[in-house]
Symmetry: C2
Subunit: 397 residues, 2 copies
């Protein structure tokens, strides 16, 4: 069913604005209206008005953003394309030389990270689902050198166990303050996330050339994979070097409720599937007590689930009231698929949660990724089959 | 700042509708626009379109709804008025004979319950804050006989300990399937909710004349108040006889996160302030482990808090897809004061949570109360200083 929706908003003290939006469509099984042209002027809690505009659109399931030193933007598309946004304009040709991907369900080309010394070495890192034959796919990490519009010398640094289905294939990659490469792997299936000989449901830690760091927590432990940095993760959709503290922050989706943010400590076990604040899809609790000695408790939990996807800490000067706040993308609104939002979380100086704000519900979009740009604006990706967009958030006077 | 917002929505397959709404205002410290005239046609997840319309407005902090056997509606206003909606029209004169109330902060006239044999005895029950001198107030329960437009023979059945401030004064009242009267009291302050000699932070159980039922769980226990049915409650804003199971359902607000629904069992201790899924306003967790032997765990938790207020189970025929679903009002949206929503919760046959839907965000209203009418429609109250409204939800074809 199509809804044509014409909204005229008159704000006396502002310039008159015409824009298209649709406020009605938090729905399951009900098609969500297309994203309008924008820009949208929206109220927020502490920053007051913001302006949300479209930088690029027509993307297919865009998954991740990375900023290059020249402030151009890399965007991955899950079907297997790496796109370049040069001076604010989307290059029509994808970057060549990217890996072949198995693309069904959650798999495909996922995250992209830029080497801290990219200006010298041109290296970028990609997580993707590597086709392994017979329809199976293996979450993998590859590195290549970006030369102009071509990715050269692509090679795999990690290829994890293959899956037949599409469960838990998501993977993020990020550089730590120690210059190491951190890669997350999905662990939804069975007890793999607790199995120290499996790479599933882990965060891995590698040198930038894929070798084992000498100080990895399980390096010389019998029956442990040496790549493992942390274990017991279900479905990590966010992995970030906290720009102020140097810690690695991670977030993962619970099954039915129980999405969580963790601050990673070496060798930590984050509990899946032994403990969770969530429930199985049948309704049963994962366990009666979500806290257990020897297992790390999350920093923050969502009940119900919001399908958290993407994390950023705001450090810029454009939004003074947001300094140090954590932003999280959401692929669903209050537990119902089909629409999402952006969440802002305020912590105190002890990194204890103070409050959360739900933003951008007016756009009715699944938010896949959120990053701060070098210009101090926030950048988001909306998850759509054929019209995924890169959005920018600026202050509106 | 005022926003004048004119929305014209054209739905090809429906009648053309003109209505006023405002989709932009989830805000703290930013005035929220007035409620438009309605009706609003909104999408929902499983029932598809609904029609929300205004039955009555201009109410001051309306708090509770009760339906009389003749289908007329009683509505309390927190400043101390009991209003009657007769054949869909708000009587301009409040019902006389209601108790004087102390009305600041959360206190005042709160809940209203109709005796199951109202047709014979005309009794209605009111929770309110009784003025105790020097600005102090005591949560109290009164009963009176409604004769036409007058409440007669008003007398107090319970007067609990007086408070100086306005914390935790909220109280609900409901009849159980056993014909007893259940009354909740706030327990935010100190350890009162755990003190068996205090009536704070409890659910009390009384005969309809205020005397002690012979089977109350602590009736002959030394140093226990005999009225106590359950203890360890923080701030109960919902108390309901589940129409299908006969159980008493209760929900209460956590401090900063950790709102919860409980199914009450006689003598149960629901944990406040020993355990909670929430945090103190300073950010610190109430405790590292929200689950403890000997304390009842909630049926369902919200993180972040939604300031749950009002609960109903849908039993009617107007919304077949909602049969058996639980509806909860919310006074805030994702932890930010100023706006709320209606939440629908689906349980399976083992009363395990399956999913939740967030509805009515488009209206940007704090929802104080939700009830099913005898007509099978849902009725809500919006919490406003001077233009609180009684809303009705019907299916929209």
């Amino acid at each position: 069913m199509k809804i044509i929706c014409c909204i005229r908003v008159c704000v006396p003290s502002l310039l008159s604005l015409f824009f298209i939006a649709h406020a009605f469509g938090q729905s399951i099984g009900v098609p969500v209206s297309p994203l309008g042209e924008g820009p949208w002027i929206l109220d927020t809690a502490e920053q007051h008005k913001i302006r949300v505009s479209v930088v690029a659109r027509g993307l297919s399931h865009p998954w991740a953003i990375a900023f290059l030193p020249d402030e151009n933007i890399l965007v991955t598309e899950r079907p297997g394309r790496l796109r370049l946004i040069r001076d604010g304009v989307l290059d029509s040709l994808p970057i060549s030389g990217t890996p072949n991907v198995r693309t069904d369900g959650n798999g495909g080309l996922m995250d992209v990270a830029v080497h801290p010394e990219f200006s010298e070495n041109g290296l970028i890192y990609l997580t993707y689902t590597k086709p392994m034959g017979n329809g199976w796919g293996a979450p993998a990490l590859a590195v290549g050198q970006l030369v102009g519009h071509v990715l050269t010398d692509l090679r795999d640094l990690v290829v994890t166990e293959a899956y037949e289905g599409n469960s838990g294939l998501n993977g993020r990659v990020a550089f730590g303050s120690d210059g190491k490469v951190y890669m997350s792997t999905g662990g939804r299936v069975g007890d793999a996330a607790q199995d120290p000989m499996s790479l599933r449901g882990k965060v891995l830690r590698l040198e930038d050339d894929g070798t084992m760091p000498a100080d990895n927590p399980f390096l010389n432990r019998f029956n442990y994979r040496p790549e493992i940095y942390t274990l017991g993760h279900r479905n990590t959709l966010g992995l970030m070097l906290h720009p102020n503290t140097g810690e690695m922050w991670q977030h993962e989706n619970g099954p039915n409720g129980g999405d969580e943010i963790n601050i990673l400590s070496p060798g930590g076990n984050y509990g899946w599937p032994i403990v969770s604040f969530g429930r199985f899809y049948s309704g049963e609790r994962v366990n009666d007590n979500p806290v257990r000695e020897g297992l790390e408790s999350p920093l923050l939990v969502w009940l119900p689930a919001i399908a958290a996807s993407g994390i950023a800490v705001y450090t810029g000067d454009q939004f003074p009231a947001w300094k140090g706040n954590v932003f999280i993308g959401s692929l669903r609104m209050g537990g119902i698929p089909g629409t999402g939002h952006l969440q802002r979380i305020v912590f105190n100086e002890r990194t204890e949660e103070m409050r959360r704000e739900i933003m951008l519900t007016e756009l009715n979009r699944r938010i896949r990724e959120v990053r701060e740009g070098p210009d101090g604006f926030l950048y988001l990706l909306t998850d759509e089959e054929s019209d995924g967009a890169l959005l920018m958030i600026e202050p509106a006077i």
